[in-house]
């Protein structure tokens, strides 16, 4: 195949990949949802989130289907996942607020660090950090090797390396946070206990939809923290929000 034919073929493949037809299961799930068959819609959205775990749309729509089925805890977990992938998704934030309000759950009070570094997802921070690192190093190396280059190249290099540092901090924040990931209570009547035993004294109630921070895992139990209180809850009662890989 000559180069004259190869380039258009490659462009066509790229265009198809970029502007290809959406997965038809989205339409089918939406039709089910519109007709009130939320369980069918949820089944399709479950498949879609497994196949496309990094699609905020799939998680968002799954959250809606779960909410319509009355599974508020799982719906809240789904919307939390959307916000981990796309932190600036206003729709997911609105649905999350709506569900929390409806369930009478306390509004989370994020720290300043969470607010600052939570504006972008971990992937976004990583992409910015790497791009700034490569470009900054290239600009700085070029300015060292070619002294006749304008001074702005050196300055741009330094600025990019600083940006890489900040973005690296954002990325690191997400990674560190993942050491103690968030978890959402998805079952009703869950209680946090003083020990990882079924007959241990209950410490506090963990209503469905409550967001907790997982401090430790011990067998089928998780040590969780909520508003400075710590307790043990069964693993099957929560959905842990793992950071995208």
């Amino acid at each position: 195949m000559s180069a004259r034919l190869l380039i258009p073929a490659l462009l066509l493949i790229i265009a198809c990949a970029a502007f290809g037809a959406p997965d038809p299961r989205f339409d089918a799930a939406r039709a089910s949802y519109d007709e009130g068959r939320f369980a069918d819609a949820l089944a399709l959205y479950d498949e879609l989130t497994k196949d496309y775990p990094h699609s905020p749309e799939a998680h968002f729509n799954r959250g809606n289907a779960l909410a319509r089925l009355g599974r508020a805890g799982e719906a809240i977990a789904a919307f939390q996942r959307v916000l981990m992938i796309a932190p600036r998704d206003a729709d997911a934030r609105a649905n999350l607020t709506f569900l929390r309000d409806a369930a009478g759950l306390p509004k989370p009070q994020p720290s300043l660090r969470d607010v600052t570094f939570g504006a972008l997802s971990a992937r976004e921070w990583k992409a910015i950090a790497l791009a700034a690192w490569w470009l900054g190093a290239a600009a700085l190396a070029a300015s060292l090797l070619m002294p006749r280059l304008p001074n702005i190249v050196r300055r741009a290099g330094v600025a990019l390396l600083l940006a890489a540092l900040v973005a690296g901090a954002g990325w690191g924040h997400w990674r560190l946070r993942q050491r103690h990931p968030l978890a959402v209570v998805i079952a009703p009547g869950v209680q946090a206990r003083f020990a990882p035993l079924a007959d241990a004294t209950p410490h506090f109630d963990a209503p469905e939809g409550l967001t907790l921070r997982v401090l430790e895992q011990s067998g089928a139990w998780l040590r969780v923290q909520e508003d400075r209180r710590e307790g043990w809850i069964p693993r099957e009662g929560v959905a842990i929000l793992e950071l995208e890989s």
């Binding site: 990949a17 959406p22 729509n61 190093a137 290239a138």
Partner: protein, 592 residues
């Protein structure tokens, strides 16, 4: 006899002078005989006591006392300087009789001075009927009257202040109110009415009247007891003026020095008011606080219109009362009307008029009339509520056609609307591009170290370049092998021409040894080079070989191109070209 009388007078004067010199505080009152309506000036003069506190006169029976100023004078007699401070008080008699003012004790701070008493006689004033007036209250007094004996909350009524003065007493036009407590009332400013004369208890008085409009704000009992400041015009007394402490120079210019004014405080006879709450009995449901006597009129137009077109209602309320706070009557409209807020379009406080306009829009063709409109008020004189009703007015509405402002109810039925609330945001559309997994780390993590490596190399290179720039000799030394290689390559290329090849070889030697040994181009010869290399420890075999190379180059260059090269020369050239690189490397190693 005359001599004896003169001696007595001289002795009395000396005694008086001695007494005067010894006295440090003096009090004098002028005149000591006066009539009611006039006033006297009391002067307390302190000599040579600049830091003495200001004297105060206690309340005096039969007089009103007010401060009238302070003066200071310096007197120099025989070189001795004296400071005189005079405090002046105005004494206004309020009753006829003989009065003794003093004695007083005046504390100067470091000593106490005794001030002897002064007797003052106040003569009654001759009344206009020839009778004598013994008291100031008979001469001048003030009363306060209300236009309403019984007052209700929000009622507007008049309060009149009357100032009575006997014709013999001259008052100037200025009258001021002092600390008039009007708690529970809203009082407008006083306006003067026409003055006149009145006879009270057989005496004739000039009366000045001032009226203010009052609005009762709260219920309760109130007492109005204002104090007035009036100015009495009296003839100026000019006798016995002290050359230092008499009236000031400018006083003699007032009214050409013949009369002067004396301020007098007058307490009006108190007026007690009782303000009543509006009665709850008989209060109409549409009563909105109007108190007084009013008339109410209403006009509405147009009365023939289409559904959705506006009707302008014009309410005209006029009368006496609290018109300022009167509001438009409230409409009791049935379903099918839309009413806008009434707007005040005309107001005249003088005539007590208020005109409101209100737009209403019929929204149904089934409406047949404008409902009646009622306006209610409380009449404080009749002590009952009154209501005036206007309407109803028949309406002729053309149905069906949409009006310019609002659609008729029949023309467009209202949409069924559910209660407003919050809900989930609807589903998101399917994305155009989906990736089965997160984009793999496009670059292996180890490769992210490449920028750091490149930076390191670049930094090292930049440092090396910097050093070469700072050390040109070192740079030349580093360049020397390359120059030698180029020269040798040229010599090999010219091998068929032995003299030219020898020249290129000599050039290569100069380009190599010049920078390497720091020799100028003209000094690169066998002797210089060999001696330096010998010092550097190059072995003798190499030295000999190098000397042989220099000699060959020298010989061939000076033989010139015309001289034919022998086979032996060609062989020597070939040998030198072959061995030169190795020889030069050895030389470089020796120098390093």
């Amino acid at each position: 006899m005359r001599t004896r009388r003169s001696n007595v007078i001289a002795a009395l004067l000396a005694l008086a002078l001695t007494a005067a010199r010894g006295a440090e505080v003096e009090m004098d009152i002028e005149p000591r005989v006066l009539r009611l309506g006039e006033s006297a000036i009391c002067r307390i003069v302190i000599k040579d006591a600049a830091n003495a506190p200001q004297p105060r006169l206690p309340p005096l029976q039969g007089f009103e006392v007010s401060a009238a100023g302070t003066e200071q004078n310096i007197q120099i007699v025989n070189g001795r300087q004296s400071l005189f401070t005079a405090y002046r008080f105005q004494l206004t008699p309020i009753a006829a009789g003989d009065f003794k003012i003093g004695p007083f004790r005046y504390d100067l701070g470091d000593r106490v001075a005794d001030i002897p008493a002064v007797e003052v006689r106040v003569l009654p004033m001759q009344g206009n009927g020839g009778e004598s007036v013994q008291s100031m209250n008979e001469l001048l007094f003030a009363t306060l009257t209300s236009s309403r004996p019984k007052v209700y909350v929000q009622e507007v009524f008049d309060i009149t202040l009357n100032v009575y003065a006997q014709p013999g007493l001259n008052l100037d036009r200025n009258i001021s109110l002092l600390n008039f407590d009007t708690t529970g009332l809203a009082l407008s400013g006083f306006e003067e009415l026409a003055s006149g004369r009145e006879a009270i208890d057989g005496r004739v008085y000039d009366v000045r009247r001032f009226r203010a409009r009052a609005t009762a704000l709260t219920s309760g009992a109130f007492t109005l007891n204002p104090r007035l400041r009036v100015n009495i015009i009296v003839p100026r007394s000019r006798g016995n003026r002290d050359p230092f402490f008499g009236d000031s120079f400018f006083d003699s210019f007032s009214l050409f020095g013949r009369v002067e004014t004396r301020a007098h405080t007058l307490e009006a006879r108190p007026l007690s008011l009782r303000v009543h709450d509006l009665p709850a009995e008989g209060r109409p449901s549409n009563f909105s606080g109007a108190v007084g006597r009013f008339s109410f009129d209403l006009s509405a137009s147009p009365l023939q219109l289409r559904v959705g077109e506006p009707i302008t209602m014009r309410y005209r309320i006029q009368g006496r009362g609290n018109i300022d706070t009167v509001r438009a009557p409230e409409l009791a409209l049935p379903d099918g009307f839309r009413a806008f807020e009434a707007q005040l379009v005309e107001q005249n406080a003088q005539s007590g008029l208020k005109v409101f306009e209100q737009v209403i829009i019929p929204r149904s063709a089934t409406i047949k009339e404008l409902p009646p409109v009622a306006f209610s008020w409380f009449d404080p004189e009749a002590e009952r509520y009154e209501t005036m009703v206007r309407g109803p007015y028949p309406l002729e509405l053309a149905a069906g056609n949409a009006g310019p402002i609002l659609q008729g109810v029949e023309a467009q039925p209202a949409l069924e609307r559910g209660p407003l609330g919050a809900d989930l945001v609807y589903l998101k559309p399917a994305p155009r591009r989906l990736r089965a997994a997160a984009p793999a780390s496009d670059i292996p993590p180890a490769l992210h170290g490449l920028p750091a490596l490149a930076l390191l190399i670049a930094a090292v290179y930049a440092r090396h370049r910097e050093r070469l720039l700072r050390d040109p000799a070192r740079a030349a030394r580093l360049r020397a092998p390359r120059g030698a290689r180029e020269g040798l390559a040229r010599a090999r290329a010219l091998a068929h021409n032995v003299p030219e090849a020898a020249g290129a070889l000599a050039d290569a030697l100069a380009r190599f040894f010049g920078p390497l040994l720091g020799l100028p181009p003209g000094r690169v010869d066998a002797e210089s080079v060999c001696s330096r290399l010998q010092q550097s420890g190059l072995d003798t075999t190499r030295i000999r070989e190098l000397r042989s190379l220099f000699d060959f180059c020298e010989r061939m260059r000076y033989a010139g191109p015309a001289a034919p090269a022998t086979e032996e020369d060609r062989t020597a050239l070939a040998r030198h070209l072959e061995r030169a690189p190795d020889l030069l490397r050895a030389c470089k190693r020796a120098v390093r």
